[in-house]
């Protein structure tokens, strides 16, 4: 599976049926093995929930998929293309939008300009078309009223909304969401689920790392549990949450 052809290697599902495929991916930081021989397939239209204790390697996994970090071993295919050596911006243009767990706003630019960057560069739009797309993404995430504010002045909650707005601008086909529901009230969480449902209905495939299990359970079509850099269990949400090992390592039961 480590071959780097333009298509997913034979034996795996056919390329069209797979939007994301990781094969034998490992990543170390010095001596620390954070992701170990991880293989994962995501089909178009799925909402995959990823669970795992702190430090399990969830954010690192996103960095590998988005292209912020190169893997030490293994290959990553997106929409049938080998992206293992592709830069992060080319993957974004190909259709991988991601949020950062710790928001990374363009602090001295306005909220609107933040999203405009993603719409024009990530979405490949001209500035006039990008402006319309940015306004759509801001309206969708409930940030329209704050469009003119410098992003550096937003509260953490709104910074997380801004991460989502940047990730969805240009309508990427694969969305990587890293802990966007933490600290929300019940009503805000309902709003978020409604937003994600709308984005999903428009055709986006979603991989969502989240500790707020009740929210994740509501919309995920599949769950995967990451522990010490490996997937220890994956499948239907109810089955995964009932699994012995999952309850042990994650739910502490």
């Amino acid at each position: 599976m480590a071959d780097r052809n333009e298509t997913v290697s034979a034996g795996g599902p056919p390329a069209e049926a797979v939007i994301l495929a990781l094969a034998g991916v490992s990543r170390r930081f010095g001596g620390l093995r954070v992701i170990e021989e991880l293989s994962l397939t995501v089909r178009p239209g799925e909402i995959l929930g990823v669970l795992g204790p702190n430090g399990a390697g969830k954010s690192t996994l996103f960095n590998l998929i988005a292209g912020v970090l190169p893997p030490n071993e293994g290959s990553i295919h997106i929409m049938g293309r080998d992206v293992t050596a592709m830069t992060v911006w080319r993957r974004r243009r190909l259709g991988v939008g991601r949020t950062y767990q710790v928001p990374k706003p363009f602090a001295h630019m306005s909220v609107f300009e933040n999203v405009l960057v993603a719409a024009t560069h990530g979405g490949g739009l001209s500035i006039p078309a990008g402006r319309r797309e940015a306004q759509r993404a801001l309206a969708l995430t409930g940030l329209a009223a704050l469009a003119a504010k410098p992003a550096g002045t937003l509260s953490l909650l709104n910074l997380k909304r801004l991460e989502l707005a940047k990730a969805v601008a240009g309508k990427p086909r694969l969305l990587l969401l890293d802990e966007i529901a933490g600290g929300l009230t019940d009503a805000e969480c309902e709003d978020l689920l409604a937003i994600l449902t709308a984005i999903h209905r428009e055709g986006a495939t979603i991989v969502w790392v989240e500790h707020v299990i009740h929210a994740l359970k509501r919309i995920a079509s599949r769950l995967a549990v990451l522990h010490f850099g490996a997937i220890i269990c994956e499948g239907a949400p109810d089955a995964v949450l009932a699994d012995e090992r999952v309850r042990e390592v994650y739910l502490g039961a």
Partner: protein, 347 residues
């Protein structure tokens, strides 16, 4: 609340530009010469700021391209006997062409190594300039009188002409850089300034943007070099490729004025010239004071004077950004951003 302040600032700026345009009728020869130098310095500051403040390319070798511009101008006019008006754009083009291989070498390096790389590259260019036949070797040589006379038969005419040329250069450098920052590329560049990793994740091509930025500055630096040759009426390796004049002072200016803004380099250049006029009698103390001010700014106000203005809520006098515009609500939600309604359109 800051609208009157903004209008006031813009009025001062407009008056300043008008006064500069009317310079030859308003100022004496001495002032015109100082202003000619001021415009060269503003151009250099705008370019260094574009590289360091936006593209994260810390150059300590900017003097290399200044020197190339000066030497190219000398070569085209004094040695190849071309008209000065053809030599000026050709000098800019030469600088751009030299910038391509320089970039190919130093872009293999990052951060501090890149800075050292730019310095080494500039030194190599200076050494080559000192060896070129016809350019006066290590001690340099004067521009021939016939070349100089093309800018005006009388001294007063030439002072006016040099003034007009360097004012034109600063204005074009400013307007072009402003237009660049307003463009799609500039949007990505501004995002890089604020957070490079996030800019990449939003689709900004960090490599191409950096290349474009570096090449963008080269012709302007070359033209500034032409102006230094005209100002001194000679070229010489140590003067044309002077690291103190064309880079170190410029770094002071941009850091004090405010890195990563268009206002900062101009503000810093004004301050630099005022300090220099006032403290000229103190000799070395002037340089020491400048160093102390810079260190103070880096420690207490890393974004410089303009950064402090921004923090106090002063809007950019020359905004290069993009307003949300029609279609977006004009009223901003209450002082607490947290009160913004979530997902109004959904549900």
């Amino acid at each position: 609340m800051s609208t009157p302040m903004l209008l006031g600032a813009r009025a001062i700026l407009a008056a300043g530009v008008l006064a500069c345009l009317a310079g030859p009728w308003l100022f004496d020869a001495n002032s015109l010469t100082v202003l000619t130098e001021f415009f060269i310095v503003v151009t250099l500051a705008l370019m260094w700021n574009l590289l360091a403040g936006y593209a994260d390319i810390i150059s300590v070798g900017q003097q290399g391209f200044v020197g190339v511009g000066a030497y190219a101008f000398f070569g085209f006019t004094a040695l190849l006997h071309m008209s000065v008006w053809a030599a000026v754009p050709l000098a800019a083009l030469t600088t751009l062409l030299i910038a391509v291989p320089v970039m190919a070498v130093i872009f293999r390096l990052r951060t501090a190594y890149l800075a050292v790389g730019t310095w080494v590259a500039a030194d190599v260019l200076m050494l080559i300039a000192g060896k070129l036949p016809g350019f006066g070797g290590g001690s340099g040589t004067s521009l021939p009188i016939p070349v100089v006379k093309q800018f005006g038969a009388r001294l007063g005419d030439r002072i006016d002409m040099f003034y007009a040329l360097s004012l034109g250069l600063a204005l074009i450098a400013f307007l072009a850089t402003w237009a660049l920052l307003r463009s799609r590329i500039g949007l990505g560049l501004t995002a890089m300034r604020d957070n490079e990793e996030a800019a990449g994740s939003s689709g900004v091509d960090l490599v191409r943007t950096r290349i474009l930025c570096f090449l963008w500055t080269a012709p302007f630096l070359g033209l500034a070099g032409v102006m230094t040759a005209l100002e001194k009426l000679r070229v010489a390796p140590t003067a044309s490729f002077n690291i103190t004049d064309w880079t170190i002072d410029i770094i002071f200016i941009v850091v004090i004025g405010g890195i990563g803004s268009l206002e900062g380099p101009i503000l810093g250049a004004i301050l630099f010239f005022l300090l220099r006029q006032w403290l000229a009698d103190f000799g070395a103390w002037y340089l020491i004071l400048l160093g102390v001010i810079s260190i103070g700014v880096i420690l207490f106000e890393p974004k410089g004077l303009w950064g402090a203005c921004r923090r106090w809520g002063f809007p950019d006098i020359l905004p290069a950004g993009h307003a949300p515009g029609p279609g977006a609500p004009e009223r901003v939600a209450g002082p607490d951003a947290q009160e913004a309604p979530a997902a109004r359109t959904v549900g």
